[in-house]
Symmetry: C2
Subunit: 166 residues, 2 copies
């Protein structure tokens, strides 16, 4: 946690770029209250420290033909580290799997998947996921509709927390 090395301006920068990753540097500088050159230097520093991992366009999956979104909860036979790594590596190579998180509890992995339609997903499910060695159980849940989808971090919570420490 290097957040303590960040001042309020840095956090504002992160919040602004999280909200609009294509913001101009001069616009960003204006919003955080400094001039353009030091602002750009701060952004570069944040990138090099790994606090900014990258920038991405948010695409409309549904309009692009991915109408199905599914959460899959996967249990493995063996939870040996080698087996966990092997399963994670498989997930990284499956394009339909967009996220893979290891969990505590009875379920070992939570997968977020997308697919053009139900039959595509089902053929992935039976042909790939369920036929993977060491996979003991898969429970899937279809996403009916999305109500909120804002990956990232709530900077207002961060501000409140840091000001309490000050």
């Amino acid at each position: 946690m290097v957040a303590h090395r960040l001042d309020e301006i840095d956090r504002k920068i992160l919040a602004e770029l999280q909200a609009d990753g294509r913001m101009t540097n001069v616009e960003l500088a204006k919003r955080v209250g400094i001039s353009a050159p030091p602002c750009l230097r701060r952004v570069r520093a944040l990138e090099e420290q790994g606090l900014i991992r990258g920038y991405h366009a948010e695409v409309n999956a549904r309009e692009l033909g991915f109408e199905v979104q599914v959460f899959a909860m996967v249990g493995l036979e063996s939870q040996a580290e080698v087996e966990l790594n092997a399963f994670e590596e498989r997930c990284r190579n499956w394009p339909l799997v967009r996220e893979c998180h290891m969990l505590n509890g009875e379920v070992d992995f939570m997968l977020k998947c997308v697919a053009p339609d139900l039959s595509s997903f089902q053929s992935f499910l039976t042909g790939q996921l369920l036929s993977t060695p060491n996979v003991a159980s898969v429970k899937t849940s279809l996403v009916i509709r999305g109500a909120k989808d804002e990956p990232g971090v709530p900077f207002d919570v961060l501000e409140a927390r840091l000001s309490r420490l000050a």
Copy 2:
């Protein structure tokens, strides 16, 4: 689904911007094989059609002090539309809840939450989520580690699918 109106260049543009949302227009044009002006026109059109919803910096939540990530599966007492909307609206107002998806099956909602630490999350869980009217059950799973996290869409799958239709 307007994907049919897109040609291969448009899809390449989307894929490139999904991978790097801050790519220069000239760089983008070079990669997709056209010159800068028409490339910019295409990007603008994609934005206006809503196929590009926005651009976001991907921040390192853990380094920023959000060390806890939790999936929460929520069941409601009543699934009447009014109640569903009410719950969704609450989720939108909870900063710790970053995603909220309505599911089929026994569980009504899947929430992805972040928090600075376990006790913050637990106080949110007991003080907010569990004490919300109409919430019948909440099962939570802590994320131990992340293996893959690439929101968005696998454009290679899209390409394969469209070429099959052609």
